[in-house]
C-alpha cells in the first residue's frame, strides 16, 4: 500500500525528516509514536502534500504510484485521507454540503457518477448509524463551534463517507476525554478493512488500547528509531522515550 524510502523533508528550510523508511501493507494499522518535535505531524503533512513541506530526498510510493508528483487534491482523490490534529472551521459552509462536494470531486476523478442530494443523504445516514453520530452534525457549518470531541468525530465521519485506502490519523486522540476517545476509537475500528491501511499518530499508548495496531514505530529526530508490535507501545508508556537514546534500540528492533 505505502512504501516510504529514505524520506528527507524540510519545513521553512529546517530539516525535519531525515531518512525515514516505512512500509505498510494493505489492511494494516501502524502506530507512530515519538517525542514532541520528532516529525510525526510532518510525516502526515508530507504524505498529504501540504504547501511548505518540502521533500528534499527519498520517495513515497502509494499503490505503486509516486505520490510526491501529485497535487494534494489528486492525492485525496487517489484515496489518501488525513484526519487533522486541528480540524479548521469553515464558517458558513454547511458540513453536508462540504462533504458532498468532496465526495463528488473524488468520484468525478475516478470516473464514477456523482451522487445527487438524495443518494448522498442516504449514504450519510448509513454512515452516521454505523458510527453512532447524531445527525445534528450535518446541519452545522464545517467544524464551526464544534467541541474538540465533535471535531475529531467529524473527521472520522468524513473518513467513513470518503472511504480512503490510506488514512493518516494525526493525534486524533489529543484533547479527548476517555469517553470521547472510546467513541472515536470505535469509529476507527469499524472502518478497519482488508483494503484500507491506517497510520495512527499518537503521543499516548491509551489510544492503542482501543485501536490495536499491527505495528508500532518510534519516530525520533526525523527517523524511525524503533519498530515492534503493540508491546512496544506499552513499554514506551512505562519507560518514556529516553531509554531509546541510550542504545536500547537493538533491544526491540526487528
Amino acid at each position: 500500500m505505502l512504501e516510504i524510502k529514505n524520506l528527507h523533508a524540510t519545513v521553512g528550510g529546517k530539516p525535519i525528516l531525515k531518512g525515514l523508511d516505512l512500509s505498510i501493507a494493505a489492511g494494516e494499522i501502524h502506530a507512530i509514536m515519538g517525542p514532541n518535535g520528532a516529525g510525526k505531524s510532518t510525516l502526515g503533512n508530507v504524505i498529504a502534500g501540504r504547501d511548505g513541506y518540502e521533500v528534499t530526498a527519498g520517495e513515497v510510493l502509494y499503490q505503486g504510484k509516486n505520490l510526491l508528483e501529485l497535487e494534494p487534491e489528486e492525492r485525496a482523490c487517489e484515496g489518501v485521507f488525513l484526519a487533522f490534529q486541528y480540524p479548521v472551521e469553515i464558517p458558513g459552509v454547511n458540513n453536508t454540503y462540504f462533504l458532498r462536494a468532496a465526495l463528488n470531486a473524488q468520484r468525478k476523478y475516478r470516473d464514477q457518477p456523482e451522487l445527487d442530494s438524495m443518494q448522498f443523504l442516504k449514504l450519510v445516514r448509513e454512515k452516521l448509524e454505523i458510527l453512532h453520530i447524531s445527525d445534528d452534525l450535518l446541519h452545522r457549518a464545517v467544524n464551526e463551534g464544534f467541541s474538540g470531541g465533535e471535531k475529531k468525530r467529524n473527521e472520522i465521519f468524513q473518513m467513513a463517507v470518503l472511504e480512503p485506502s490510506l488514512a493518516i490519523l494525526d493525534e486524533t486522540d489529543s484533547g479527548l476525554d476517555i469517553d470521547a476517545l472510546r467513541l472515536v476509537a470505535e469509529g476507527v475500528n469499524r472502518l478497519r478493512s482488508a483494503d484500507r491501511s491506517m497510520i495512527v499518530v499518537t503521543h499516548y499508548q491509551r489510544l492503542l488500547d482501543y485501536i490495536i495496531p499491527d505495528a508500532v514505530h518510534v519516530l525520533s529526530d526525523g527517523k524511525i528509531v524503533a519498530s515492534g508490535d503493540a508491546q512496544l507501545a506499552l513499554k514506551l508508556e512505562d519507560q518514556g522515550y529516553s531509554w531509546l537514546e541510550d542504545g536500547g534500540i537493538e533491544a526491540v528492533a526487528g
Partner: protein, 487 residues
C-alpha cells in the same frame, strides 16, 4: 431663450443646442449624446429634453450652483486621479427615446437582445420570476413591465421622468427630502444633471405583490450615468426592490453618480437590494466605473423599517454608504454588505445609522473581501442622538484577505449622545486560511472550488438577505470576480 419655452418641443431644443455647441451632438444609430462638459445650459438642455416643469429646472439649477462651490471629497481611503468633470458627457439616450415606445413590442429589438445577454428578465421570464423590471439604459428608462398588475394593487412603479409628468405632486413632495442637493458633492452633481431612474410609490396598507427590479446599464463611451431613485412607502406598506448594474469593458473610466432616496412612513418596510457589477477595470487598473453613490433611507414613521443589502463586486472605485435615518420611534435600520475588490479595485463603503427616535435599532453586517491588489475599506457611522433613548446598534465587520498584495481597512465612527444606548462593534480580519484551503484540498476539492466555497460561507449572512434569484446571481458573480485570485 430659456428651455421652458421649449418644454414640449425637443426637436427645436436640439436645434438650439446644436447651434450653441460647435461640436454638435455625437449621435449615431443607437444613441444621442450631449457633448462633454457641464454648465447651466447643459442643465437647461437636459431638463428641456425631458420636458420638465419649471420648478424642477430651478431645483436642478440651484443644485448646480451649489455644486460649483463644492469640492470632491478626499477623505475616503481611495486613490483617485482628479476627475475632469468637463470631459464627461452628461446625457446619452437611445435614439428611439424620441418616440417613446408604448410597450415592449415597440422597443428596439437590438436593445432587448442586449438585455437578454445581460439576463434581464424582461419578457416572459420576468413573469415567471415574478419580477417587474425597469431597465435604465445609459440615461433613460426603457420599459417597465407589469405596470398593469402593479396598478391594480395601487403601486406606482415607473421611470423617474414619467413620475415627474404623471405624479408631479408626489415627486415635488419627496424629492430631495432625504438626500438634499447640498448633501455632498456627488449628490449635488446628480441633482443638477440626473437623467432618469425609478420611482416607486406604495400606498397605505399595500404589500407590493412582487419584487420590483431595475437594471442599470452604462453603454455609451465617455458618458456619466446619473440616475435618481425615489421610493415612498406609505403607512403599513411593504416593498422589496432590487437593482442590478453592469457596464461594458472600456479603457477609460466612466462616472456613475446616483442618488437613491427611500421614505418609510409609519409601520412601513422597504427592503432594497443591490447587486453591483459595473466594469471594474482590467488587471492593471485601466478603465472601470467610478461609482459615487448616495443612498439614504428615512424611517420617518414610527416602527418603520429600512433594510439595505448590497453585493458590490464591480467598479474601479466604489464610494458608497447606504444609510438609515431612524427618526420614527422603534424604527429599524439594517445594512448587509459584501464588497469584493480584486486586481486594482478600490472600495470605501459602509453605512451610517443615525438614531434619532427612541427605541430605535440598527444592525450592520459588513463582509469585505480583498484579493489581488484590491483595497477594501469599511467606513461606518453609528450616531445615537440625545433624543434616541434606548437605541441599540450591533455592528459586525469582517474582512477576508486573499493573497498578499491586498488590504482591508476598517473605520468605525461611533457617536453616542444618550447614555441609555447600547452599541456593539465586532470586527475580524482573516487571511483566507491556508489551513482552510488545505483542508478542502485534502478532501479532494479543487482550489478554485475551495476558494469559492470558503468565500460563499464567509458571505452567507448577507446572501441570505437577498431574494432567491439574486442570491444565486451574487454567488456566481463572486466566483467570476475571484477567478485566478489564488494560486
Amino acid at each position: 431663450m430659456t428651455s421652458d419655452q421649449n418644454v414640449q418641443d425637443t426637436t427645436s431644443v436640439d436645434h438650439f443646442v446644436q447651434q450653441k455647441y460647435r461640436h454638435g451632438f455625437v449621435t449615431d444609430i443607437e444613441s444621442e449624446t450631449v457633448p462633454p462638459g457641464l454648465n447651466e445650459d447643459i442643465v437647461r438642455w437636459i431638463s428641456a429634453r425631458k420636458g420638465e416643469p419649471e420648478w424642477l429646472l430651478e431645483w436642478r439649477l440651484q443644485a448646480y450652483r451649489r455644486w460649483l462651490d463644492m469640492q470632491a471629497p478626499d477623505w475616503a481611503h481611495l486613490q483617485i486621479d482628479p476627475i475632469d468633470f468637463q470631459a464627461i458627457s452628461y446625457f446619452s439616450a437611445p435614439k428611439s427615446d424620441k418616440d417613446r415606445p408604448q410597450s415592449l413590442d415597440e422597443v428596439d429589438p437590438k436593445l432587448l437582445e442586449t438585455y437578454d445577454k445581460l439576463g434581464v428578465p424582461l419578457h416572459e421570464r420576468a413573469r415567471l420570476a415574478g419580477v417587474a423590471v425597469d431597465a435604465v439604459f445609459d440615461s433613460v428608462s426603457v420599459g417597465t413591465t407589469f405596470r398593469k398588475d402593479l396598478k391594480k394593487a395601487g403601486v406606482i412603479f415607473c421611470s423617474f421622468s414619467e413620475a415627474v409628468k404623471d405624479y408631479p405632486e408626489l415627486v415635488k413632495k419627496y424629492l430631495g427630502t432625504v438626500v438634499p442637493p447640498r448633501d455632498n458633492f456627488f449628490a449635488a452633481l446628480n441633482s443638477a444633471v440626473f437623467s432618469d431612474g425609478s420611482f416607486v410609490f406604495i400606498p397605505s396598507g399595500v404589500r407590493c405583490p412582487m419584487e420590483l427590479s431595475t437594471y442599470f446599464r452604462i453603454n455609451a463611451a465617455e458618458t456619466g450615468q446619473f440616475e435618481r431613485t425615489l421610493i415612498i412607502a406609505e403607512d403599513s406598506s411593504h416593498v422589496s426592490y432590487l437593482e442590478g448594474c453592469t457596464a461594458p469593458m472600456r479603457d477609460e473610466n466612466q462616472l456613475h453618480a446616483a442618488v437613491v432616496e427611500l421614505v418609510a412612513l409609519e409601520d412601513a418596510e422597504i427592503k432594497y437590494s443591490t447587486v453591483q457589477n459595473w466594469y471594474p477595470g482590467d488587471e492593471n487598473g485601466v478603465g472601470g466605473i467610478y461609482n459615487f453613490v448616495t443612498k439614504r433611507g428615512d424611517c420617518r414613521g414610527d416602527r418603520s423599517k429600512i433594510s439595505w443589502t448590497q453585493v458590490e463586486t464591480g467598479s474601479a472605485i466604489t464610494w458608497k454608504y447606504p444609510s438609515c435615518v431612524l427618526r420614527g420611534e422603534r424604527s429599524v435600520g439594517e445594512f448587509y454588505s459584501v464588497a469584493l475588490t480584486n486586481n486594482c479595485q478600490q472600495a470605501d463603503t459602509g453605512t451610517k445609522m443615525i438614531h434619532i427616535g427612541r427605541d430605535t435599532r440598527s444592525k450592520i453586517i459588513s463582509k469585505g473581501i480583498s484579493a489581488g491588489r484590491g483595497q477594501n475599506a469599511y467606513r461606518g457611522l453609528v450616531r445615537i442622538s440625545k433624543s434616541a433613548a434606548n437605541a441599540r446598534n450591533f455592528t459586525q465587520c469582517d474582512s477576508m484577505l486573499i493573497g498578499k498584495g491586498c488590504g482591508a481597512h476598517t473605520f468605525p465612527y461611533i457617536e453616542v449622545g444618550n447614555p441609555s444606548a447600547k452599541v456593539e462593534h465586532e470586527a475580524t480580519t482573516s487571511r483566507i486560511g491556508e489551513d482552510q484551503l488545505f483542508y478542502c484540498l485534502q478532501r479532494g476539492i479543487s482550489e478554485e472550488d475551495a476558494v469559492s466555497m470558503i468565500v460563499d460561507g464567509f458571505c452567507k449572512q448577507v446572501f441570505r438577505e437577498l431574494p432567491m434569484e439574486f442570491a444565486v446571481e451574487a454567488k456566481a458573480l463572486l466566483e467570476v470576480s475571484l477567478e485566478g485570485a489564488v494560486g
